[in-house]
């Protein structure tokens, strides 16, 4: 099928993209195109212009610095998957990337595009919530930083305002013994998650959990942080009772809808199962 007619602008800076988006509300950024193209072909959207940012220089970086990780708007899913340093420090990040779609989708799709698209079943949001990331948006009045917890406002909607684009995603590094994992339940290879849970745990010298952070996707109108589950872990030794209790709390915090991937009851129960698996997987690393 052919997409509807639209114009095309190839920009050489994000500032230029912001100018266009600010003056034309129907213009849309084109990054990896892996969510945009199907929407266009199915004629679910009809933008005036696509603003192609793919040739903006120096936007594909994943910079692992001492105290933070900075990710450019054009870093593709595949780049995370093959990043050995990420596998050693924060395995949940490449582990998330490798479970998104399929190789062709990962070769083009970007983390920033996934966040901006805000599919309530997308994988990145869970992991970025667990890592307490923040998003640097560039808009008509300059840059602002949006904490990930405030970024998603509902299904397919975000805190990005008129003319704003994602410039960078920043993850602050946590000192100490940090463990992480992302576990995705999927019906078949390459599908969106039935539910997905990302966990980051910081262990103290005595083996107790000093800090915990849990992000959950596909289990509500937007991805969320399972705060009660986190509280059930912090300050305790991760015994099976403690983990069971945390998983139970994560389940109660979830609010999935029934759809082709399962009934809401089934998905709620899976939140518990997958939370447990994610905690155990992180601890086993």
């Amino acid at each position: 099928m052919y997409p509807p007619k639209f114009g095309y602008v190839r920009v050489s800076s994000l500032e230029e993209a912001v100018n266009i988006l600010n003056s034309d509300e129907n213009a849309k950024v084109l990054a990896g195109g892996q969510s945009l193209m199907p929407l266009l072909k199915l004629r679910l959207i009809k933008p005036s212009y696509l603003v192609d940012i793919n040739r903006v220089p120096n936007l594909s970086y994943i910079n692992i610095e001492r105290d933070r990780i900075r990710i450019g708007a054009l870093a593709r899913h595949h780049q995370f998957e093959i990043n050995k340093e990420l596998w050693s420090i924060y395995p949940a990040i490449p582990e998330t990337a490798m479970q998104i779609g399929d190789p062709q989708v990962r070769n083009l799709g970007t983390m920033a595009g996934s966040l901006a698209h805000a599919d309530p079943a997308a994988d990145w949001p869970a992991t970025l919530i667990a890592f307490r990331a923040s998003i640097t948006a560039l808009g008509p009045s300059g840059e602002r930083v949006i904490p990930i917890d405030d970024f998603f406002t509902g299904p397919f909607s975000t805190a990005l305002g008129k003319g704003e684009v994602i410039k960078e995603i920043v993850i602050s590094r946590v000192e100490g013994n940090v463990k992480s994992a992302y576990v995705k339940l999927e019906r078949k290879a390459g599908d969106f998650a039935v539910v997905g849970v990302a966990v980051m745990l910081k262990l103290g010298g005595d083996g107790s959990i000093e800090d915990a952070s849990i992000g959950i996707t596909a289990a509500g109108p937007k991805p969320f942080r399972a705060r009660e589950a986190e509280k059930a872990l912090i300050g305790r030794k991760p015994t099976s009772d403690v983990i069971e209790d945390a998983a139970e709390k994560a389940m109660r915090e979830s609010n999935p809808i029934s759809d082709i991937r399962g009934s809401s009851d089934y998905k709620r129960y899976m939140v518990k199962v997958i939370t447990k698996r994610a905690i155990n997987k992180a601890l086993s690393r």
Partner: protein
């Protein structure tokens, strides 16, 4: 700050693009909405590039663009301006099949053949990145390519054989 729009085309306009396919440069005028798959099939005649879906799920349209596999139905022709593209037509040399094609032939890795060009191009990318993949890695590597006929087993065998052939020939992709 000086800002230069490198290219701007209205919805009713066409734009001239240059794309290098299988080693040859082509110049054509296209509408911004034209998909790369339609450009390759209809404008340039590379009919190995198949269309099997509207949602980016089947992989029949897979080609190599600037060294990585992409679904050409998920890319605009204008985005490929200046790009280097490899399609199935570019694999055989001097009338001789490429080792990956030979392996698909020998292992009977196709029935109707609709998915085959996409399978072979994704295999090309998989073996370029990982010359000796495990069975698990092969299955993961081909997760974006659907086949309605074979049940995949012979395709997996063909990828293993292709990997062996390339190694014996000391051929890098």
């Amino acid at each position: 700050m000086v800002m230069s729009t490198t290219l701007k085309v209205g919805p009713e306009e066409r734009v001239r693009i240059r794309v290098r396919v299988n080693g040859v440069w082509y110049e054509r005028d296209v509408e911004p909405r034209k998909l790369l798959v339609h450009f390759l099939r209809e404008d340039l005649g590379f009919t190995s590039v198949h269309v099997g879906c509207d949602t980016g799920h089947c992989g029949a349209c897979t080609v190599i663009m600037n060294g990585v596999s992409v679904k050409s139905c998920q890319v605009l022709a204008v985005q490929a301006d200046g790009a280097e593209i490899l399609t199935l037509e570019g694999l055989a040399k001097d009338g001789k099949l490429h080792p990956i094609q030979e392996a698909f032939w020998e292992k009977h890795a196709l029935q109707c053949g609709y998915c085959t060009p996409g399978m072979i191009m994704e295999t090309y990318f998989l073996l370029k990145e990982n010359p000796e993949p495990s069975e698990e890695e092969i299955r993961r590597g081909l997760a974006g390519n659907l086949c309605r006929c074979t049940g995949y087993q012979n395709i997996v065998d063909a990828v293993k054989l292709a990997s062996q052939k390339l190694k014996e020939l000391k051929m890098t992709l």
